[in-house]
Structures are given as C-alpha cells and as structure tokens.
Subunit: 738 residues, 2 copies
Amino acid sequence: MSVGDRFPKIDGVAKADGSGIYADDISFPRMLHAKLLRSPHAHARIRGIDVSEALKLPGVIAALTGDELPLKYGVIPWTQDEQALATEKVRFVGDEVACIAALDERTAEDALKLIRVEYEVLPAVLSPEEALAHPEIKVNEKAKVGNITKHVNLQFGDVDRAVAGAAAIAHETYAYAGSTHAPIEPHCAVARVDADGNLTIWSSTQIPHYLHRELSRVLGLSPAKVRVIQPLLGGAFGGKSDPFSLEFCVAKLALKTGRPVKILFTREEVFYAHRGRHPMKMDVTVALESDGRIAAVDNKILIDGGAYASFGMITAYYAGQLLTGPYRFGTYRFDSYRMYTNKPPCGPKRGHGSVQPRFAFEVALDEAAEKLGLDPIEVRRRNFIGEEVDTVNGQRITSNGFLKCLDLVEQASGWRERRGKLGPGRGLGVAGSMYISGTAYPVYPNEMPQSGVLVKLDRSGRVAIFSGASDIGQGINTLLCQIAAQELGCDPRHVTVVAADTDLTPVDLGAYSSRVTFMVGLAAQEACEKLAAKLQAAGGATFAEACQKAEAIEGAPLAASGGYRTQKLGGGYRGGTIGASPAYSFTAHVAEVSVDEETGIWKVERIWAAHDCGKALNPTLVEGQIEGSVYMGAAEAQMEEMVYNEKGLLFGPSLLDYRIPTSMDTPDLQAMIVESNDPNGPYGAKEAGEGPLHAAIPAIANALYDACGIRIRELPFYPQRVLKLLRERGRKEEERVA
Amino acid sequence: MSVGDRFPKIDGVAKADGSGIYADDISFPRMLHAKLLRSPHAHARIRGIDVSEALKLPGVIAALTGDELPLKYGVIPWTQDEQALATEKVRFVGDEVACIAALDERTAEDALKLIRVEYEVLPAVLSPEEALAHPEIKVNEKAKVGNITKHVNLQFGDVDRAVAGAAAIAHETYAYAGSTHAPIEPHCAVARVDADGNLTIWSSTQIPHYLHRELSRVLGLSPAKVRVIQPLLGGAFGGKSDPFSLEFCVAKLALKTGRPVKILFTREEVFYAHRGRHPMKMDVTVALESDGRIAAVDNKILIDGGAYASFGMITAYYAGQLLTGPYRFGTYRFDSYRMYTNKPPCGPKRGHGSVQPRFAFEVALDEAAEKLGLDPIEVRRRNFIGEEVDTVNGQRITSNGFLKCLDLVEQASGWRERRGKLGPGRGLGVAGSMYISGTAYPVYPNEMPQSGVLVKLDRSGRVAIFSGASDIGQGINTLLCQIAAQELGCDPRHVTVVAADTDLTPVDLGAYSSRVTFMVGLAAQEACEKLAAKLQAAGGATFAEACQKAEAIEGAPLAASGGYRTQKLGGGYRGGTIGASPAYSFTAHVAEVSVDEETGIWKVERIWAAHDCGKALNPTLVEGQIEGSVYMGAAEAQMEEMVYNEKGLLFGPSLLDYRIPTSMDTPDLQAMIVESNDPNGPYGAKEAGEGPLHAAIPAIANALYDACGIRIRELPFYPQRVLKLLRERGRKEEERVA
C-alpha cells in the first residue's frame, strides 16, 4: 500500500544537495553561448537589421535574424502569432530582434551592441481600453478585428430580468493587476545537433511535446529528427508553457554552426518572457434572492493580453467558464475580450484565467450577502451546487467536497466565535472556488491518448517508468513511484522514472491546466494493472521473484503501457465546453488579517485553506501544493504587480524591484485536505496545484472588510490603497455623523 | 526493406568525431580517482596490510582492502574464485591487493607506495605441467583436486581401435601461445552513489547483467539498488567479459566516501587483467580411412589457466566440443585439463576455447591427407558433415554453408592453378572451422529469456528500442535499427537505441559466445512483429501516420517486447551439451604466405576468408567482423604472445613490447560472405564475429608447409622458429641426399 501515504519527493535530495541537473548544468565541448537583442520600443517597424559589425567581433561565431526562422508558432493552433525573432515589427519593449552566438556570454552581449537595427517607431497601445479605442493601431496582425485576440460572449437565462427582480445586488468594478511567475530558475535551453543531423534540445519547458511539434515545424525538420528533453525544472507555474524564442534560436544556431549552443535568460529577460497573470478589468454583478440563493451573475471582463496570444484564447474562456461553481445558478452571462497591447505577452499563470474573476465574484457575493444580513459562510453553503450535477454552462461536476471545506475552515478559524468580533483592525474573511483537473480535450484535435506511460519490470525487482509528463515540482514522478508500488507491490524507492524526453518517453501533452496527476495517474494505473495481473498469475515470495516467474512465463521482458484517453463528457454545449474538465476540485479559505488603520499597513496573519483534491495520493505533496498556491495568492493580494511606464517600459524587471514575499512576508498557512474520492480520477484524485490559489485573494479582501469595513476592489492591496479606502470610510462616517 | 542492406554503424560518427562518450569521458563534481596496489610476487601469503601511512598523504581520501569485500565472485556460478582485493594470498604478479582513492590519479599512485604489505613468498607454479606435478603448491583453493580448474574427458566410439585400423595417421604435439585482447580502450569504471543509496556503475564491460548480479551480491546491496551502464566500448574481444576488481573497488569506495570514484586502468594493468587466450599444449591424432574420410580424432589438451577460473570451465569444454564439425566423424575422444597457474588469469578471447585445437586439428588433417596424396581442399570436402545433422557429441547442425565456403576460397585464391606451384618460399594453405551462435543454455540456470528487447513507437515516427545487449563493436545497435526498419517500415535512422543500462533496458546476458545478433535479433524481431501487426491494422500513408492511427486505436503508447527463449535443443547428451548452440557458422580460409628461406622472415600476403553467417543482416558489418577476426588470427599466428620470466613477471606489459600488427603488418584480406539462411536465426542469420578467426592460423601454417615444406606446430610462428624448422628441413634433406 503506497498510494495515499506520505512519501518524500524522489528528486528532493538531488535538488537539495546540488547534484540535480538543470538545463544550465548541461554543457558540451565547443558549446557556444548566445544572447538575444531586444527591442527598446513598445511598437516599431523594423526597416533593417545589420549584423555585419557584430560578426566582426572576435569570439563571435554566428548571428541570427528572424528571416531565417520566418514561421509563426504557438501552442494553440488557432492563434499562432509568435516568431522567434521579429522580422516586420517589434511589439513590446523586450521583443526579440536578433541573436548572437559567441564563445562566451560576455562576448555575445558585447556583440549585441554592434547590431544596427533601423526602427520606425509606431504609436503604441498600452492598455486594453486604448487597444479597444484604437483599432487603427494594430498591435498584432493575427487579430481579425482591431486588437481583439478573442471575444467570448455567452448567456444562460435572462440575466437582466433576474437582476432586476433580485432581493440584493452587488455590482462593482474590479481591477486585477498583472503579475508574473518569478520562478527561481530562469529559462534556459541548450541545443546540440549530431553528425546525422538529429537535433536535441534540453529546455526548461513544461510542454516538451508541444515544443517538439513547434520546433519541428518552424525548423522544417522531421519531428523524428527532433528530440526535446526537459531536465529538472526550477519552478514554472505556467511561465514555461509556451515555446520561447530561445529554444528556436539555440536550435537554429546549432544547425547553422554545427556546435552546441546555450541560451540562459537573465532575470530581466525572464520578465520580458513573462506569460504571467493577465490584468483584468471586471464588471461583476451578483444578484441574490431573499433566501440568499444566487439569482444571476453577470460577468463582463476586459483582459490585457500583451503583444502575443500565448494561451489568451483559453484565458478568455476560462475567465467565464470556471466561475459556474461551486455555487448553483442558472442565469449567467459572461462577456470577455482578450486584447492585444504593446506589452510583454500574458499567459497562463497558476490558476489560469479564473483567479481574477473569482476574486471579483467572491467579494461581490460577500457584499450582496451582507445586504441580506447573511453570514458569508452561510450564503456559500446555501448555494452549494452539489455532486453529480451540471453547471449552467454544461460542466459535469462529479465529486464535490466544498461543504466539507467550508466546515473545516469555519471550525479551524473559529469563525463563529471570532468573525466580526476581533476588534478594530482585525478580521476574518472567507471565499470559495472551483478548478479543473485538466481540460477535456487536447489542444490540437486528435484521437490519440493525452497521456501515456510505459512501465518495464526487471528481474532484479527494479521498475522503470517512462513518462512523458513534466515534473515541474508538483511531484508527478514521485506519484508514479507510488502508483507502481500500489499496483505492483514493489518498493516505491526501487522505481526509476525517465520523464519528459520525447525520444524515450510516451507523449504527455504537458504540465498545464492541472491535468498531470489526473491523466498521467490514470495512464500509469492502467499500465501497472496490466503488469500486476501477470505478477499475480506467476506468484512468488517477493516482488523480484514474482517478476522472475512472470518473465519466465512471458518469455519476454515484462512491459506494459497505459494511456489517458479523452473522455467524451456528457453535458456541455457545442459538443463540449472549452475548459470542461473530467473532474473539479473545490477550495474554501478563511483568511485573518490585521490592519494598522493609521498607516494602511496590513498583513495576513493566517490562512486556513481546505482543499478537496478528491484523494490525496501523497498528503505531503498535496499540502505542499496547497501551501504554494495559497502563498502565491497571498503574494498577488499583497504586493505583486507588473508596472510599466508611459512608453511601455517595464519598471524594475528584477527580483529587487518586482517584489515577491520572502518567508518573512508569508502568513501562517494551514493546509487541510478534504477527500471526496472522485469517480473519474486516479484512486479518486483531482487537482491540487492551482485551485487553492484562487480563494486566498478574495478571502483576504473580505477579511479586510471584516477588519475595518473597507471593500478593496483593486489588486494588489497596497497599504496606500488600503489607507485611501480607510480615509474614504472615515469621511463617510463623518458625513453620516454630520 | 532494410535487413540485408549495407547501412553504416549508428555510432560510427560519434566514435569518429570524438563526441562519443566512453567510460573515461564520464566525470562528476567531487569525483575521486583510485589506484590499485598490485602484488610483486607470483605467489605469496599476505601477513598484513598497513594503509595508515598512505592515508596520511594529503589528497588521499580513502583506502580499501580486501576484508571490506570478502565475497568471491565470477560469472560462472560453479567457479567463483575471485576477490576484488586479495586477503589471504596473492596469486600472480599484478594481483590486486589494496586500493587508494584520492583527489587525483597522481596522488593515489604516490599513496600506493606508502602501503606496507607483509608477504610470505610461496613457491609458484608457472606452467600447467608444473601445476600438475605439484598439487601441493595450491594456486587457488577453489580447485578440488590439485590445481585443476576443470577436467573434461569424453569419448565417443572406440578411438584406439579406429586409430589402429586407419589408412593414415597424423599424431603430433602442438603448442599454442597465450595472447591477450589488447583493446584500444583500457578498462575503466566510474561509480556514483546517490543520496538514497542507489549505486550506479558506468563500466567498460561486455556483461552488464552479470556485473549487476555480482556487484549486488558482493556489496550486499539489493540488485534493485544497483545500476550498471555500459557506455561506448573501445574494443573488448572477450577481455571485458568478467567482473573486475576495479568495478568492485570504485563501487565500494563510492559507498564509503559518498563521492563518485573512477578507476582507469593503465595499459600495464590491462595486461594484468588479461583473460586472454589460454596457452594450450595439444596432443592431436587425426586418423583417416583410405578414401580420406576421418576415422577418428583424439584430442588431448593441457590448458594453462592462470590464477583464476574466469570462463576456464567453459574453455575446457569448448576445446573439445567445438571440434566436431564441419567434418563428420563418429569416433572421438577428448580429454582436457584446465590448470591453475601463478600467472594472470586467462579467459575468453574471440573464438574462445576452440581456436587452439582448431589450429592443431587442421594442421594434422593436412598432414594425414598428404600421406594419402589427397588435396587439402578435397579432403575437407569429403568429410563435410552436411546440414540437419547431429555431430558426434550431439550438437545439432541446421544450416551449413561450408562447401560453398570451400568453393569460394578455392576459386578466389586460384587454388587449383597455384597451390604447390608458386615456387620456393611461396605457398597456399587452407583450413576450415565451425563456431557457435551463442550457447544454448544461460550461464546461471533459469527459465527467463536470455535476451529481451522493448520497442516503443512515437507519433512523430520515431522508434525507441531498449536493448540490454552490449554493442562491443559488432554493431548490434545498428542491426536493431535495421530490424525495426524491416518489420515496421520506419526509417532506420529514426531509431533511438538505449542499450546496456540495467535500469532502463531489459536483460541480455552479455556479449560473449557470439550470441548477441542471434538472440537479440530474434527478440527484436518478435517485438517489432507485434507492433507491425498493429500498424498494419491501423493503416496510414506514412509510418508516422500509421503510428498515430494505431496509437489512437490502442488508446495507449505503442510498445511491445520480445524475448529470446532458451530453445530445448534436440540431440545432446546429459540433457544438453555444454557449448551446444542453436546454430553453427562455418568458415574456410586460404592463406598465401611468402618466406625468405635464408632468414625465416615471412609474411602473410593475403587471406581469402569465406564465412557462412547464415544471412548477412548488414554485409558491411559482416565483412568488418570477418576482417577483424582474420586480422586477429593472423596476428596470433605472426607475433602475439604473453611472455613471463622465471618469477612470473610479465615481459613488457605495454603496446611497445607486446606486439600487435599495425596496418603495415596486416595482410590483404578478402572477406567473402556465404549465406545459408539458418532456420533458427533471425532472418536466417548466424554468427560472424568469432568463427572467421579460427581458420586463419592453420591456413597460414599449412601455407608455410606449401611454401617451404615445414610443419610449424608452435605459435607464434616467429621467424626464428621458421628458420629453425627450415634448418631442420635442410638437415633432413641433406641426410636423405647423403
């Protein structure tokens, strides 16, 4: 028995003792180091690029410009709008223009200064409002209309009528700032071409399979000649879910020079690569019946996308689709625009698409409930959507532990005794949320399994698992050992996992949308079950002996594969909701804050986070995921923001200026696991890595209200903003008294 | 169609351009370098070992003595008599006594001089005759009787009566000198222990699986915690078929120190490691009927084994068992003693066991035939054993292309026109031989497959093959690509072969006894056939498309394994002849020599070598194997010899003093392929890597007779020996004239 047990991460020691190999640890004789020249303009036409002087610098081996890599790429087949190096236009300050490979980084960097680029500076749009107002300033030609990456507009029921007839309404505008992932490991890629012309790329990617496809397409190489290997990753959080310029540049330069080539981003470049949280302006209406039941939700969102689509089309859907639980409502409208702007491209950050509207909704729900005199936890209970039920937009919810989550955080936080009773400047707030366990359908339409696992047994009692999945810290490689132990009866420490190597491992689509444990877990379970049947038939006193006997019977090495096949989900509309998932996770948080009402300086004292992960395959890892998520949510609430000046220049692209919480800034976190044992998931498991981020932010906002009566609707909750709201509150109180 | 085509070796470019990774190319941070202290005595009792002064030398990290690795090991389960470091006795000059790990090689070497070993020198036996004569001087306690490693004595029919009644008899004594493999790459092993206590050894071994077993046993580690990886090998030829002291020492030192440890043998140490050709004294009688048919063969052999058994038990069998073809005879006796002596251990060198008796037999056959006035080729034809027939000792011969081999070399050499007619000092000689394609039974008795292959298909059209087999230059990894192409229709250059890694690949027993192409080939064919059936059912315009469709139908990654199962062979005695093989290869050579009769200086002008390899899966590789074998045979005939002084000290353990032929010393070689399409082999294939060595030596000896009438019966055929025989011939001629 091993699934469900606490088990340390198999790569933990290697990561801790320095022996783990990350992309930048990979080095080859004769390897070149390359650097990228980036645009100083937010928007400009390229009239010419002259690399001749750069090539003369001693130590420079090769230069690369966009005309050598003209094809556009992107994970989402319908919005492929990126180019390794710009040819016609640059679209943000930091956009890649040219690349130099040299004997060392310093020389490559010096050579960049010798490249002459003739720019014709164009007017830029730096906000989604400007982007809407100025369709004549076309940021990205991929947009069919103006600067719209994607417009989603769906309505269920008569929203206006339901709002008009409601007992209580909250209708406000919310603003969610952009933030970025800030992984400790910067992006790094190494390319090597062997004498037969086979290209291998080691990259800090969380999507080896899509990268494999896109490299093959853009480079014009048979995919059978391209190999992508993902070494250990030092954090990703969605920020390594796109193909990036550096991967194409090292590949092309390796092909050009016949030498291995490495690019390691500086921290500044990681900020330009971005793909972080989309800034959103949200107009949210929550209308309640007199008993607190939700009568209608209206959700209008303007999304600031930056210069490229990335996963923005999905963002525009997720922003609306994932709001329809854990509460039941039948009347719903959402209308979202994802806009191109002349800034670094936004993309999928942990909790992709739904963190921002969840914040707005959960704050609005509190506000409307207050008007009915309802306790915030109570109003959430009354709206519980239940199990084995479809959401208004056709998403099938199977298991649902949300009520248990609410109970746990209510008890743990002492909600009933303490909420509203902590005195001035101290308060509790609650919020709930729902998230997906992978999206039902693959990104590019096909009938193949979305995940595959191949398992081989050795007569020594060792197990080898070949998995295409990217362990980005969520611990899938560790879970694979546990699943093998569970099914086969082997020692989980006697499992070798070979992962994320497109030559050696089966395909997994990537580490995004919280799909990995769910889908890879099912694939692994299937493969192991096949082998377990053979072992059982063979018998044997030990696992190794059973392997030997079974191998003798089989007459061939013991191996089996398992797959995760796209489930044809019931419900849905248009044959399947974008974002629809085979299982949904649920979360409830209570946050406790303290506020110095004179300065606006505040802090999160503690967050109780209860998360329904279906089944905790490894409670230590689930708790780690909950803690990491809550930390990141609290960070966005407190301090994280991508700030630009009027020319589109990112303010302080460094970890000195872009602030993330240190351990000193991190609240006490209490992670609580709720198990609902989902019928679809592996051993009942659902996601745990993204869902628990959502509720932290509105819970903090609602706690600030409990602490000092302010409704903060703009992130981050800077002390200045809190102070401003406190002063407005003061003025209103004075007016009331007067 | 790819099997049967010429196709370059897949590792050829990496070996040529320097990018290939051999064991010594592997290095880790904090890695230690270790050196072995070796015995200066041929035979001595160890009274004490004091490493304390060595440990004080700055830069020395650890010392190791035999009491830390007390268990004895060896591939052959019944004769495990080796120890990583001697504890009680040293048994030859060069025997390993202690080991020092230091920051660098030089320091380790310096530290060896500080180790104090107290020896009690014992009398030594340096020849098999002495070993027989002095059972009281016990070289190796594993010997049950005296110094006998193994005595084999078998008789079929009444040999003495048949000899007495024969028309012609040759009865002489032959001496075959010991020679060694002289691979260009010295033995090297690197060990690394991870924080979880898993041990990985990269070693220049040709038996990863047996090494895996023995490391686990000697170190007392679960085999599931030991991983053996064989990197590229720079030559082996049987010399890397044993577990060696360096592998145990790096492993133990890595476990002791927690740091990676490397040992790279010096060239001198490669000579001490040895395991080369056993010196043999052979008393051979060949008796012919008047029509030239073989009436009886009597084969009495005294084998000089050196201090340890290695594969010597097998040598003692092979020396007799493999002589019973390609000629038919029903009356046969063989009696072989493999003796322990105080010299470096002999073992399996290319053509293991049977090269020496084949030399004696083929020379004796010529000599007897001459007495009947029979042409040497004609006598061989008349005795052809045929196909689908059992040898006298119960070995089942299936296909047999020996007659075709004889025809080819007869024609190519212009035998009929030229033999005996080339004038003084120039002559032609012929010889034939037979060899095995693997031994029927595994070395340690078990019912599991002897070879396993796992094949995985990717939707990109790439194929991954996981094979436990050691590519020691014979090209099995290349053949795997061709077999995949043949069965699956893929591009053979789109195959990734992962080989000889006990964690990742299925078990193959090792690269010995010419078993690899035969057994691994069948296993690969089986695995690929399973997948081909799925691809065919799925259809598709290209291979990649077929993979995609089949993967969609399968719903899981496409993978299949195949195995080579021990065939229960018919015939045999005692339930299976040791050495019995599922298929036998056949060879005929004609050699042309020129002799300066005044000096005895002679050379091989040319060798025509025709080899029946069943089916040439890749003619380029088969020709390479034939050429390499013939080269090595000619080398042994010409110059190779392990020479010891009276104290057992090896003379000139260097490539300056131990002479191997350069390209200037190598005769013109004409390799000719005969295909007999064996019913048991993969696509009809049989071995090609060892068989063609045998006939070269007697063909050269017989050519020397044709050239100048001398019967040389002692290897190597030094000019001094030739000159001595020429002078004896002269004396005899003078006597006859007088």
